[in-house]
């Protein structure tokens, strides 16, 4: 297993080595030591490999990830897994703001809490947060699923498009055009699958979730809706 110690090796060298990997590489499991809050660790990977990062990371860890399974054994700074296309990014601690921002695919799992704007502009990514999320999470969320086992802060789903939001705890307030919708069996099936992907198998009452989505009243600019903005 290749092991890169970021106390001795620059991030640039790590990323460059990960970018060189081909789909049929034998180096499928990497270990990264001493990330020490460094930024842009393991960004832009496009290979089916696993990268275990042993510690806290700074901004944009696993940004624009494709196919890789990146595990952060610590906390993650802003923009973890931003614009992810596919694969799985798993933060075992807390995540700062804009986790999964504009993500297009794949799964982001956060074992702890996520700060403000979690899932902002999400475009197809699935995000499972086992703790709480901060204000303006799923702002302008276009697609994908945001599952929150804890509470959600102010203005959840503000100006949301077609993303699905599932929250088990309290929602402090909903943003413009975001409304509660019925949680049907098909939604529970989606939830079950998402939770299983995030390592939550059983022990959760799916009926305890509430589902939120777009009222679609702001899809066309209309003068009668100016009070909503």
């Amino acid at each position: 297993m290749p092991t890169i110690d970021l106390a001795r090796t620059p991030v640039r060298k790590l990323n460059n080595a990960l970018h060189e990997l081909r789909a049929d590489t034998n180096e499928t499991h990497w270990r990264v030591l001493n990330p020490r809050g460094l930024h842009a660790v393991a960004v832009g990977i496009d290979a089916p490999v696993r990268v275990d990062i042993e510690g806290h990371v700074g901004y944009y860890c696993a940004g624009m990830n494709k196919r890789a399974h990146v595990v952060v054994r610590g906390n993650a700074g802003p923009g973890v897994a931003e614009n992810m296309m596919s694969g799985h990014v798993h933060v075992q601690g807390d995540a700062s703001q804009a986790a999964g921002a504009s993500g297009c695919g794949g799964l982001l799992t956060i074992d702890g809490n996520a700060s403000a704007r979690c899932g902002i502009s999400m475009k197809g990514i699935d995000i499972v947060v086992k703790g709480a999320v901060g204000h303006l999470s799923a702002f302008m969320a276009q697609g994908g699923n945001l599952v929150v086992l804890g509470d959600a802060g102010d203005a959840l789903g503000d100006s949301i498009y077609e993303a699905h939001l599932y929250v088990r705890g309290c929602v402090k307030s909903l943003g413009a055009d975001c409304v509660e919708k019925p949680l049907q069996d098909r939604h529970k099936a989606v939830l079950r699958k998402l939770l299983a992907g995030a390592g939550v198998n059983g022990g959760i009452d799916l009926g305890g979730f509430r589902r939120y989505g777009s009222a679609r009243k702001l899809y066309h600019f209309h003068i009668d809706n100016v009070g909503s903005y």
């Binding site: 804009a98 921002a101 498009y161 600019f221």
Partner: protein
Amino acid sequence: MAQDRWIHTPPRKSATFDDYSIAEIRRAAATGIYDIRGAGAKRKLPHFDDLLFLGASISRYPLEGYREKCATDVAIGTRFAKKPVRLKIPITIAGMSFGALSGSAKEALGRGASAAGTSTTTGDGGMTAEERAHSTILVYQVLPSRYGMNPDDLRKADAIEVVVGQGAKPGGGGMLLGQKISKRVAEMRRLPEGIDQRSACRHPDWTGPDDLEIKIHELREITDWEKPVYVKVGASRPYYDTALAVKAGADAVVIDGMQGGTAATQEVFIENVGLPTLSAIAPAVEALQELGMHRKVQLIVSGGIRNGADVAKCLALGADAVSIGTAALIALGDNDPHLEDEYRALGTTAGAYDDWHEGRDPAGITTQDPVLAARLDPVAGGRKLANYLSVMTLEAQTIARSCGKSHLHNLEPEDLVALTVEAAAMARVPLAGTSWIPGRAG
């Protein structure tokens, strides 16, 4: 009777409540909604027409017009990028989205730019395969909306442009109305077909100059430090924005003045927010010079560039290159008088058509209607754009030679004077016939 004519007071219209203002009040009262349109500021502003070149004299001798070389090449991204962009001419094509523009228009821009040896730029909505195929040098924009953003296209690009703002609407986002959201546009942006698409005004994952530095670092890491990273801002605080972009690690800074076009924004925004292009160059150059980065971090200026004289004036004030958008669309056929009957049917006239957001462009440029878009032949359009770029370059060279310059970048502020006090103050060159630069001590 003759005496009565002297007594009669002729009708007098107000300079304040002019015909346009009155019409706007009536329109607002009737509709309850502000006016949205495309293009940039239309009001009269201090501009490059207010500057003149001095040309050669006893103390400066010129270069021979049709014999002696006047180079036009420029490299962008020499600060950090492993692969700087190398252009034959210092005139680039500004970012305009597939969505705002038809696919054939984007292809024509790529063809024209490539034939002229320069770059074109994507826009809000991502990169199309046709655009990439027909653009030898393509700049990929990273915008707040992140519509169409993906790492594959990022790697395919020749340079990356982080868009903070644009001159027509510094601090504003955008709205692409539903009639332009075709199936393909919707799929690229991952939004439902036919809905109004709001483009965000802030980036989702960074705020402020310190974050921007880390964002640029991430983009460089993803692309292995190969590609130049530009930062584009609308002209509002050009001194500080340029300094902050340099501090954040930009290879190039793009300053877009308020005459720069947009696909759609409120008229009140376009006409009342931002700075004229003329006033934005000197402060940006000053910031670069103070940081020791002039000519090391390239400065690209856009907003109302129309001809080779404008190009030469921008470069003389210290820019490394210019960028054109509206002018490129006009070269493709936008607002062409031969479509006058159709413009009239839309309630406008050739030269004034700016409802680019409505998607009914008879020239087939600012539309997603396949019938209208088919009117624009991308090969012929590309040829027109290449011709236009060639003429602009020749014009700039003509002026540069008259000033004795063997490269367009050798033009300097000392070659310029201003026709008005305002232009002299903004461009920081002397009022013609004087040595007076308003605002400058001594």
